[in-house]
Structures are given as structure tokens and as C-alpha cells.
């Protein structure tokens, strides 16, 4: 089980970091989401993995699992969920206002102009018209 959890966290983190380094906002947001999943599982595992152990005191419990990481994960989930929602909306607004979803690459826009490709809502409108 340890191997499964550890490799799961590792795979998600690797994918998250890779996506975070992409040039467009959509993969970046997915990357942020993956990273936050990875860290949530990681936090959960910091209390050691235990099966069928209650976190709160009960009379017929053979042993207990650490309840604190569960509380920490709950806090982290709430925050990361809210932040993902915020960054999604914001990326959408930035796309609509700037006409591009490039994170920090003026070259992408320049290339698009060179090839006569309109990006953003204006480009989509032109595309629709052509069809």
C-alpha cells in the first residue's frame, strides 16, 4: 500500500509540475489542480497509513490513526478548491480581455500574428465566419 500511495503522489506531482510549466493557461490550471491533489494525499499519509483504525476515541478500538493530518487535509482541500476556482475564472477573464491565453510568452502571440492567425475571441469569431 505504501508503494502504491507513494508512486501515486509521485506521478501526480510529476504531471502537475510538467503541466505547470506549459505556456497556456489551461494546462497550467490542470497542473495546479494535480499538484494540489498530490499534496492532499501526501498530507494524509504524513500521519502514517493505517487501515481500519478510528481517528477519534472509541471503546472497542484496537488502535488509533493520527487525526491531525485529516484535519489539515480538510483545510488544504477547502483552500485549494477555492483557489482553483478563482484562477479558472481569472484565466477566463484574462483570455477574454487580452485575446490570448499565453501565460508569459509574447513570442506565441507574435508567431500567431506572423502566420495571420487571430487568437482569442476575435480569432474565434473570424473562424466561425469563415465556416
Amino acid at each position: 500500500m505504501e508503494l502504491l500511495v507513494a508512486s501515486g503522489i509521485g506521478a501526480m506531482t510529476a504531471a502537475g509540475v510538467y503541466l505547470l510549466l506549459r505556456a497556456r493557461t489551461f494546462p497550467v490550471i490542470i497542473g495546479v489542480a494535480l499538484l494540489s491533489y498530490a499534496v492532499n494525499v501526501f498530507l494524509f499519509a504524513t500521519g502514517r497509513l493505517a487501515v481500519h483504525r478510528p481517528p477519534v476515541i472509541s471503546d472497542d478500538a484496537a488502535g488509533y490513526t493520527d487525526p491531525l493530518p485529516q484535519a489539515l487535509v480538510l483545510t488544504a482541500i477547502v483552500i485549494s478548491f477555492g483557489m482553483t476556482a478563482l484562477v479558472t475564472i481569472l484565466a477566463l477573464r484574462a483570455y477574454l480581455e487580452c485575446g490570448t491565453d499565453a501565460v508569459d510568452t509574447p513570442e506565441l502571440d507574435a508567431t500567431a500574428q506572423e502566420w495571420g492567425i487571430q487568437t482569442g475571441p476575435a480569432g474565434e469569431a473570424a473562424e466561425a465566419e469563415r465556416r
Binding site: R48, M83, V87
Partner: protein, 509 residues
């Protein structure tokens, strides 16, 4: 238990929902509530600072749960100093934002401002590592809103970058906290300080990983090279009063480094703890050089100030990285100074940009504009403060830093870099000042700014921040006395640990 300790967190936390729920329709009422709340915050911080100056660390147990099971807020000299600095800066910035009309350019400026204060104050007070993460999130979420205040394409674009960088930073923070918890089984900072010394031999490497991950997180906040790249774009595109308030945000990173690496992973922590100074010192020196290069290369005044701020973080963290009481006292003096200098510069930049019409803050000659003489003098004062020329506090701050670096291994490097970058910074600011103020005198015509009515209050607020630097220089003796006491308290963490855990547990663990 002294209930005043929790007031700097509770007061803005109560005020912000009130502003957003009850009085959102009236900007006047919002301004009144926000101003009164901030004034009260200054008064409370002043009272707490006086109290902390007279005694040892005091704790406030949230919900009356005893440490290390519950979360504690700790008031010592360092946190009291930071609270007072935040309160005073917030008061000046709020005055500026209200009187210049910046708060009317978008919605919910005042609630976000109060949430920002809540997050910053909480980060300075908390004695729990996970709670520090939560307060970081509070101040970041509020800062996202404030940074986007007023909207606009450029600002939104910069905002997305800022948020993504900080989301990655928050994730790293959680990884670091998780690793430390997995090794020690606690997140209370005082308890950690005890447990870190008793770590099992096999777990030392894991603890070191956690400690250094934490350093990376704080370095993102403190804009340390190579994690500084988010700062210029963000601050230069943020509304100027917000950028002035954000001058305290980089200091939250510096504060966290000082707190965690003197208390938890300090000298007494043994082999398990990483020596943060070894990593911090080279990074801080590179930060200093890169920031100064940016000062020379910037094309706009706001961006120039951003790089000057990065360079000042370099100086500050160089002093922090030495981790001696004298160097930390110097770092704290420079911290107060650089916060005031950066805030004053951002406000001056806004005053100038507002009067230059379409030329904005670009560093190019434009025809004369209203109040050139007055603004030129304000800029001159703020610039010599930031560059570290006498007689303002920047000079004393750098002198203290240089003095505290004497006799170490890296003395020659530190002295050379700080002195050389100071000279280059002066050149950079002189270039900017001559482009903005002198060359304009040679051009024909005048810019009649759209805002014909020129309120006095924004200039008063800017002058008040500058006056803060003058006071800091005039009272350098008593202030350094207080800061030396602060540094002493930081390097004798037993007092802090005993205040939180009680004498018995602090000794036995």
C-alpha cells in the same frame, strides 16, 4: 491571558464582512469604517509594542486549548514590531487610497484591504506552522483581489501569473509542513524547537528536506533570486497604493525566515536542521546584484521601484543570512526602513503618473506637469532613502548591515557588493529623476492633467511615509536599542518556548 493579543487579527476579520455585507452600497460609510478600524489597529499595535518592549513573550491560546494541542498566538518584540509597522503603513496607504480616489475605481477595495491586514497580522502573531500557512493564504487571497482592483487587460495578465506562482508556492508550503509533521509529530513552533533536537538519527535527512523546502517557500514570498520573477510584473501592474501596501508582503517572507530559522531550526537544533544561512547568503547577494541591474534597465518608474525593492530584499536577507544577533538587529532596522522607502516611492510614482497624463510612469521626457517642484523633492527624498544616502535611514541601515558583517568569512564580498550596488542604484535613480523632472523642463508646453482638482491629502500621506524615515533616522539610538533587545530575544529561544509550553515541558520535551 491578555485578550488584546488577538485583536489585530479579530478586528479586521470582523470589519471586512461588515464592510462587504452591511455597508457595501455606501462608499462614504465604507471609508469611515475602514479608516476608523485601521486607526484602532494602529492604537492597539502601539499598545502591544509598548507591552512587548517591557516584558518577555506572551501567548494567547485560541479557544483556551493549551499548547501544543491548540493554536497559540505569540506576542514578542519581533511580532510587536512587525504589527506596528503594518498598522502605520496601512494607515498611510489607506489615507492615500481614499483621498486619491483609488478605492472608487473598483468594487470591494476596503473589505479586501481589511482581509489583507488580517492575514498579515495573523502571520506575524501565530506560533503554529500550519496556522502560518492559513494566514499566508488569507493574505494572498486578499492580495489577489487588491492586485486586480480596477481591472484592465495588463493587470489581469499579470494577476494570472502572480496567482499561479503563489499557488505553486502554497503547494510547496504544504509539502514542507507535511514532511516536518511526519518527522516530528507536531506543528507548534515552540514544540518543534524542542522536538527537532530529539529527532531520531535516521530521520535527520527528511527533516532537513522539510526545513529547506520551507526556506524555498519563504524565499518566494521574499522575492529572493531565482524566485523573484513574479514581483516586478505584479507590483508594477498593481494599483500604486496596493503596491505600497505590498511592500510589507515581501517582509512577511523575511519575517518567517527570521522566525523559523532562529526558533525552530536555530543554532541549538543539531545536525538534523539545515543551516539556512549557507543557502541564503549567496542567493541574497545575487538578488542584490540582479535587483540593481533591474534598477538600471527599467523603462518605467513603477518597474524601477520594483527592482529597487528586490535589491533591498537582497541587502536585508544578506544581513539575515549571517544569523548573528548584531546582524539580525541590523536586518530589522533595514527591514523597517526599506518598507517605508518602497511604499513612499510607489506613492510618489502614482502622484507623478497621475499628472503626466498619457506619458504615465514611462521614463522619458514629457512636457512640464503640475507641481513638478514639489513632486521632484518628494521623489528625491524617497530615492536617497532607498539608495542608502545620508542623512536618511537607508544610510544608517546599510551602515549597520556592513558593520555587522565585519569579521566574518564573506566580509569582503558583502562589503563590495553592497557598496557597489548602492552606487549603481544612485545612478539608476538619478537617471530616472532627470528623465522625469529635469528633461521635461526643456520641453515646450505643459501637460494639463485631467484631474484639475489636486487634493492635498495624497501628498500629505506620501510625506507622512517619508517622515517615518526621518523619524527612524532621528530616533536611530532608541530604535536600535529596541532592535538589539529583539535580536537577543530571538537568539535565546528558551524564553519563547517556556512561554508557550510552560517551564516543565520546555526543559524535558
Amino acid at each position: 491571558m491578555n485578550h488584546w493579543i488577538v485583536v489585530p487579527v479579530i478586528l479586521p476579520a470582523m470589519l471586512a464582512p461588515l464592510l462587504v455585507l452591511a455597508v457595501r452600497h455606501s462608499l462614504t460609510l465604507q471609508r469611515v469604517f475602514s479608516a476608523v478600524g485601521t486607526a484602532a489597529l494602529v492604537a492597539v499595535s502601539l499598545g502591544l509594542a509598548l507591552r512587548a518592549a517591557g516584558g518577555g513573550p506572551e501567548i494567547y491560546e485560541l479557544g483556551n486549548w493549551p499548547a501544543p494541542f491548540g493554536i497559540v498566538l505569540v506576542l514578542d518584540r519581533l511580532s510587536a514590531l512587525m504589527l506596528l509597522l503594518t498598522g502605520l503603513l496601512a494607515a498611510a496607504v489607506l489615507t492615500y487610497a481614499i483621498s486619491s480616489g483609488w478605492d472608487a475605481r473598483g468594487r470591494h477595495f476596503h473589505p479586501l484591504f481589511q482581509f489583507q491586514l488580517m492575514g498579515v497580522n495573523g502571520a506575524f502573531l501565530t506560533g503554529d506552522l500550519f496556522n502560518l500557512f492559513v494566514f499566508f493564504e488569507v493574505l494572498l487571497i486578499a492580495s489577489y483581489g487588491l492586485m486586480l482592483h480596477g481591472g484592465g487587460a495588463e493587470r489581469l495578465k499579470a494577476g494570472v501569473q502572480y496567482i499561479v506562482v503563489n499557488l505553486a508556492g502554497s503547494t510547496l508550503f504544504l509539502f514542507a509542513v507535511g514532511t516536518i509533521y511526519a518527522v516530528t509529530g507536531t506543528l507548534n513552533m515552540a514544540d518543534l524547537a524542542v522536538k527537532v533536537q530529539q529527532v531520531a538519527p535516521g530521520d535527520e535527512a527528511l527533516l532537513r528536506v522539510g526545513a529547506l523546502l520551507l526556506l524555498v517557500v519563504f524565499a518566494v514570498k521574499a522575492a529572493l533570486v531565482p524566485l523573484h520573477f513574479w514581483l516586478p510584473g505584479t507590483y508594477a501592474n498593481a494599483p500604486a497604493p496596493v503596491a505600497a501596501l505590498f511592500a510589507i508582503m515581501t517582509k512577511v517572507g523575511a519575517y518567517s525566515i527570521i522566525r523559523v530559522y532562529t526558533l525552530v531550526f536555530g543554532a541549538g537544533a543539531g545536525d538534523g536542521a539545515a543551516s539556512a544561512g549557507d543557502w541564503l547568503l549567496p542567493a541574497a547577494l545575487v538578488t542584490l546584484v540582479l535587483g540593481t541591474a533591474g534598477v538600471l534597465g527599467a523603462g518605467g518608474l513603477m518597474r524601477l521601484i520594483c527592482y529597487a525593492l528586490i535589491a533591498s530584499m537582497g541587502t536585508l536577507l544578506t544581513a539575515v543570512a549571517l544569523f548573528t544577533p548584531a546582524a539580525t538587529a541590523a536586518a530589522l532596522y533595514y527591514l523597517v526602513h526599506s518598507t517605508l522607502a518602497a511604499a513612499a516611492l510607489f506613492l510618489v510614482a502614482d502622484l507623478v503618473a497621475a499628472r503626466r497624463g498619457r506619458f504615465g510612469d514611462r521614463l522619458e521626457a514629457a512636457p512640464r506637469f503640475a507641481q513638478t517642484g514639489l513632486l521632484a523633492s518628494l521623489f528625491f527624498l524617497a530615492a536617497i532613502g532607498m539608495a542608502g544616502m545620508p542623512p536618511l535611514s537607508g544610510f544608517l541601515g546599510k551602515l549597520l548591515v556592513l558593520d555587522s558583517a565585519r569579521g566574518g568569512e564573506a566580509t569582503a564580498v558583502i562589503w563590495t557588493l553592497i557598496l557597489a550596488t548602492s552606487l549603481v542604484t544612485i545612478v539608476g535613480f538619478a537617471r530616472a529623476g532627470s528623465a522625469l523632472f529635469w528633461k521635461s523642463a526643456a520641453l515646450e508646453g505643459r501637460i494639463e492633467a485631467a484631474a484639475a482638482a489636486r487634493p492635498v491629502l495624497p501628498i500629505v500621506a506620501t510625506a507622512a511615509v517619508l517622515a517615518g524615515m526621518v523619524v527612524l533616522s532621528a530616533l536611530a539610538g532608541p530604535v536600535t536599542g529596541f532592535l538589539e533587545g529583539t535580536a537577543e530575544q530571538l537568539y535565546a529561544p528558551a524564553g519563547y518556548i517556556e512561554a508557550v509550553l510552560g517551564a516543565e515541558r520546555a526543559a524535558g520535551g
